[in-house]
Symmetry: C2
Subunit: 134 residues, 2 copies
């Protein structure tokens, strides 16, 4: 059994916490935990807007706190995001996520994020359209 | 893109909401959503105690609200559960979960729950030690 505490991981501020200016993600479970998925708590700054496309992953995102919206770029459809709303990117959907208030999201990835992708996502290697807040 | 609202699912009170006297689980994503995992929001009643063993699944459980404890039956070790604590059953660990206050948990299963297991889990077919709050 693995037991981890979000608040202690944030306090430690080690490699399980990844961020840029507008988002921060805490990696609660990664590929090497052997669960077959990864699990992340992600904070998106109030007023921020993000364009994401997870070409190689499915991701589900459950809103625990905050408000905003998501636009599916393929269809043009926009959905309200608030506490209790979940979206699942079952078609590797390219999308725009907007945080009106700070969003706190519980995110699952399949296949699991390894940590290597996270470093790529976090700036130096990945193209902008390949960024992943994980 | 799949978009679902926990509160609307609870209001509708259809087959996505499963419960017994001491817990209720809302199935946000099931196997047929094609994500490769399932995702559930589960409520465990204050004062309740549950013995679970997921013989065929890995499960991670993130505490969004409430307080309690979990005992790993194999090791005898007990861990405090509170907001921000996650446990992951990476060894199909048989365990006792206690809710001191109502627990609200975000749960991921791999392989994904299909709904068929849920009916089994929900009473008529499953042996007690095989119960799964999913």
């Amino acid at each position: 059994m693995i037991v981890r505490d979000l608040n202690k991981i944030i306090e430690a501020n080690g490699e399980r916490v990844v961020s840029d200016a507008k988002w921060r993600s805490v990696r609660m479970l990664l590929a090497d935990d052997g669960m077959g998925f990864s699990f992340h708590i992600t904070y998106l700054e109030a007023g921020s807007e993000h364009t994401f496309e997870y070409k190689n992953h499915f991701e589900s995102v459950f809103c625990m706190k905050g408000s905003g919206s998501i636009t599916d770029i393929a269809t043009g459809e926009t959905h309200e995001i608030k506490q209790g709303v979940m979206y699942a990117l079952n078609k590797h959907d390219r999308h725009i996520l907007r945080a009106d208030e700070e969003l706190v999201m519980a995110c699952c990835f399949n296949p699991p994020v390894t940590g290597k992708e996270v470093h790529r996502e976090d700036g130096s290697y990945a193209a902008a359209e390949d960024l992943e807040t994980a």
